[in-house]
């Protein structure tokens, strides 16, 4: 737990530094290169400022030559940011410079394919990616791009197929598992989605979001056993977030209501714990503090569920 806390603190620290540097660079206060390096290091997606600041740096020939061999990284960064902003002309120029400098490079090839993608020329993009994969069949980024193309075209079943093929080889890539889980949820294939979330919980058991998502999938599937499991995962989300997650609080209430509905008439095998009433209380308190105008709504709802 302590490790997670320090990690989040460090992340917040970096974020603050990023914003400060961005402010400074935007107003011509220098530190442009430091900002761009930090963006790269944190893998932050801030295309607008990156494009503005990076382009300024590229157009300033003395600043560019001071970067020496680092300028090619800058070209790449600006190209990607430009594609994010739909400034395809800028991206094309940058990639042109790069391909002149590094002919035949796979990294530049990826950028060119990315440009096809940005223009929506799917067939060309796929051909370009296939060419890269021929030389290096284990290029994870290219595999992921192919999945992204399938997704962008709205062909979810193809995306699922690609993702499954990718995960067969790179089965420790939890980002891919998450993507697959989200696609399965959108396709209403809850059983498969539950499997993916289990995999994610295994990989990173301390991230409450996975517990929450897993619980939601289980709740959606329904059935007594699933509901009871879902309630447990909502409870673990509450524990991991310190009771700050409103969704998990609602989830506990809903699960408990659904369970009591299902077991009505039969004698209760599971003695009802205090959890739901505590969750309801916490919800009420939270609403009282942060949204007093909606308090009546929540009281009503809880009354309907016979929780308060």
């Amino acid at each position: 737990m302590a490790a997670v806390a320090t990690a989040t603190a460090a992340a917040a620290d970096d974020e603050a530094r990023l914003l400060r540097l961005e402010e400074q660079a935007e107003h011509g206060g220098g530190g442009a290169w430091e900002y761009l390096c930090l963006v790269r290091k944190l893998r932050a997606r801030r295309p607008d400022p990156v494009l503005r600041i990076g382009l300024e740096l590229l157009n300033n020939s003395s600043a560019r030559s001071r970067l020496a061999s680092e300028q090619w990284t800058l070209y790449e960064q600006v190209a990607v940011a430009a594609m994010d902003c739909q400034r395809l002309d800028v991206a094309k120029d940058c990639i042109g410079v790069l391909s002149k400098k590094f002919p035949g490079s796979a990294r530049v090839g990826r950028l060119e394919a990315l440009l096809f993608e940005a223009k929506g020329e799917w067939a060309d993009a796929e051909r370009a990616y296939a060419l890269i994969l021929e030389n290096n069949p284990f290029d994870q980024i290219v595999h992921k791009r192919k999945i992204a193309i399938a997704k962008a075209q709205g062909d979810m079943s193809l995306a699922v197929e690609y993702l499954n093929k990718y995960l067969e080889l790179f089965m420790a890539d939890h980002d891919a598992w998450r993507e697959l889980a989200e696609i399965y949820v959108s396709l209403q294939m809850y059983k498969q989605a539950a499997f993916c979330y289990e995999e994610l919980i295994l990989a990173q058991p301390t991230i409450p979001l996975y517990h929450l998502a897993y619980a939601e999938v289980l709740y959606t599937m329904g059935g007594l056993e699933n509901l009871q499991t879902a309630r447990k995962y909502y409870a673990s989300t509450i524990q991991l977030t310190g009771g700050k997650n409103t969704r998990a609080l609602f989830g506990v209430c809903l699960c408990s209501a659904a369970i009591s509905q299902l077991t009505k008439g039969r004698n209760k095998e599971e003695e009802s714990s205090e959890l739901q009433s505590l969750a309801a209380e916490a919800l009420l308190k939270d609403y009282k503090q942060r949204a007093p105008s909606k308090e009546a709504l929540i009281t009503n709802m809880l009354k309907n569920m016979k929780l308060s």
């Binding site: 080889l169 295994l202 447990k232 673990s236 009771g243 714990s273 505590l278 916490a282 308190k285």
Partner: protein, 251 residues
């Protein structure tokens, strides 16, 4: 024993200094030769089987460490998926395990790489040693300014078989060895941190390359998965959550 030996200044000018200079130059030369000889393919396409095995091991380790966080049914189905004797991901047939080991030792690429590395290390060393031995063997070349115990005789007076010479005198051949092993710091200054002349590290890498056998780690992972007991912690989580909420409400 206490009689001072007088060392000719010509020894300093013609042995001590030239030897050190030559050693430094050879080190630099070796660095560049090794750079040239290094295989041009910096990142050869990895074996798909190796990639997959590495990923399987990582995923199985996740299952082992996080087992208590998923329901028993999910854990059981995964365990079967990994460890069943027919086509489990972690199951390695016996013949294949042996084959893998044999293949590793007979892999021509690996042997070639190692030979190149060894060549760039051994050939210049033999040559310089022969050169030193031929021209400068058998006399005292320097005196270190502090006394040492007799134990150091083997290190400092290699090539002189006299028991009566004070240990603080250094023979020329020993001077060569001192240079050979002592110049690493200087090289990392001249050639940058990760220079190729770092022999000791290279040796370690070589050992490591042979030690990590992916098939071995697969079966080791399988064994530890086999003995693991599933103990679902989620039921406890409900009580923890209650406590958390109580604390929150009290505030």
């Amino acid at each position: 024993m206490t009689e001072e030996l007088v060392l000719d200044t010509a020894i300093r000018d013609w042995v001590l200094v030239p030897l050190s200079v030559v050693m430094v130059l050879i080190g630099v030369l070796r660095y560049f030769v090794a750079k040239l000889m290094r295989s041009p393919a910096a990142s050869p396409s990895p074996d798909p089987k190796l990639v997959k095995e590495g990923q399987v091991v990582v995923r199985a380790r996740h299952l082992r460490t996080g087992a208590q966080f998923i329901p028993a049914k999910a854990f059981k189905s995964r365990k079967v998926y990994y460890t069943n004797e027919e086509n489990g991901l972690l199951h390695v047939p016996k013949e294949e395990a042996q084959k893998a080991q044999a293949a590793m030792f007979s892999d021509p690429n690996m042997a070639m790489d190692m030979m190149k590395k060894n060549l760039s290390m051994i050939v210049p060393q033999t040559l310089t040693f022969a050169w030193v031995n031929f021209f400068f063997s058998g006399f005292v070349a320097a005196k270190i300014p502090f006394p040492l115990t007799l134990r150091f005789r083997g290190m400092l007076q290699n090539g002189i078989d006299l028991g009566t010479v004070d240990v603080s005198y250094v023979s020329s051949r020993s001077w060569y060895f001192l240079n050979l092993f002592g110049l690493r710091g200087l090289f990392s200054l001249i050639l940058g941190e990760e220079n190729a002349t770092d022999d000791a590290q290279k040796m370690m890498q070589m050992g490591g390359g042979f030690g990590a056998n992916p098939t071995m780690s697969l079966s080791a992972e399988k064994d530890s998965l086999d003995i693991i007991q599933h103990d679902w912690v989620l039921p406890k989580m409900e009580h923890h959550a209650e406590e958390v909420l109580r604390k929150l409400l009290k505030k």
